[in-house]
Amino acid sequence: MTSGADETRQGHRYVRSMAGWWHRNPVYFWYMVREVTAVGVAVYALVLLAGVVSLALGEASWNRWLAAMRSPASIALHVLLLAGMVCHAWSWFAIMPKTMPMLFVGGKRVAASTITRAGYAAAVAAAALLVALAWWLRP
């Protein structure tokens, strides 16, 4: 025991601080990225909702919304939100098997990696379908 020992501290438990916990481990960092990018998903829903409201308000309003969407700031926001959404989808499907009941096919449990891969495939297929539809309906 070192000199200056404080006997009144006998049995004292040391509680470590949680400050900065989310950047102490890459797993926590990517969890926080998943949480933050969920806000980006909500923000983009609001952007689209503004478009629907503009459409309801008439042609002038709709054209103003379209012009706003074509501005450099909007394109920068879209690139940022797209990156966020890719991150979110990747992270979400990785954890999806942990969030759902056990799946059985032909009496055998479906592996977590299969569920994740099916999620990635569905996301890629849905995005490809949307891009194809937009291309086909372009003015």
């Binding site: 025991m1 020992a5 049995g11 004292h12 438990r13 509680v15 926590y28 969890y31 942990k98 009941p101």
Partner: protein, 245 residues
């Protein structure tokens, strides 16, 4: 023989105001675990180093500690895989430190008693309890928990709010609730649906990654978010029970 540097977080409740790092040079062979490295320190270099261990074969769950920032069983973490080091060893995160690498488990043990971790006979207590392989699979992985607490050290929500019942005990609750022979589900639902039950979990998922027995506690917690929500919604429509389940 190769040498590796092991840095241990030391804490003596009387002598130290706060934990401090202490470094040891440890000779090791390819078959030596981190636990054996610590035992070498205790036997040959510094008898005051304090840590828990028992079986040395990843079944007792005593030797959990943070190794290079990750919750690990030190008996199944090998020094050869951490060479050239240094190896940083500290007490499991999110628990108060009693001394050196020893944590205070009393919070977990208090909660363990509260979850009714045993089979409660259902409608037919004298039944033969036949189960199909699929019925058994619903709970079997959750029955493999060894209470090593690595999942608690992985869970930031437990660190931020120690009232959270935590991943390990949620897996244990699910182990009994998902068992077709058990009739105690309604009695455990209150714990599941409490704010400190499943709803404190935010699906970080790291608890399942660190589990040495592949129990997948995150899956148990998240399945019970659905079960808890259904029980809550169905609550007003259920006839009042005459006694406690």
């Amino acid at each position: 023989m190769r040498q590796i540097e092991i840095q241990c977080l030391r804490y003596h409740p009387v002598a130290d105001q706060a934990p401090r790092w202490q470094t040891y040079e440890v000779p090791f062979t390819d078959d030596m675990s981190v636990l054996q490295g610590l035992q070498h320190i205790k036997d040959q270099l510094d008898g005051s180093l304090t840590f828990r261990w028992s079986c040395r074969m990843a079944i007792c769950g005593s030797c959990g500690m943070m190794v290079n920032g990750e919750p690990k069983l030190s008996c199944e973490t090998f020094l050869r895989d951490l060479f050239p080091g240094p190896v940083r060893v500290e007490a499991l995160n999110h628990f108060p430190i009693v001394r050196d690498l020893v944590i205070d488990q009393s919070d977990f043990l208090r909660k363990l008693e509260s979850v009714k971790p045993y089979l409660i006979p259902g409608k037919d207590p004298e039944g033969t309890f036949l189960q199909t392989p699929q019925q058994m699979e619903q709970y079997y992985q959750y029955s493999k928990c060894i209470n090593c607490l690595l999942c608690y050290a992985a869970c930031p929500q437990y660190g931020l709010d120690p009232e959270f019942i935590g991943p390990g005990l949620m897996a244990l609750i699910h182990r009994y609730n998902a068992d077709s022979r058990d009739g105690g589900r309604a009695g455990r639902m209150e714990l599941i649906n409490a704010e400190q039950g499943v709803w404190t979990c935010t699906a970080v998922g790291y608890c399942s990654d660190v589990c040495p027995k592949h129990v997948d506690p995150a899956n148990a917690v998240n399945q019970n978010k659905v079960n808890g929500a259904i029980a809550w919604l169905a609550g007003p429509f259920r006839p009042k029970a005459s006694g406690k389940p």
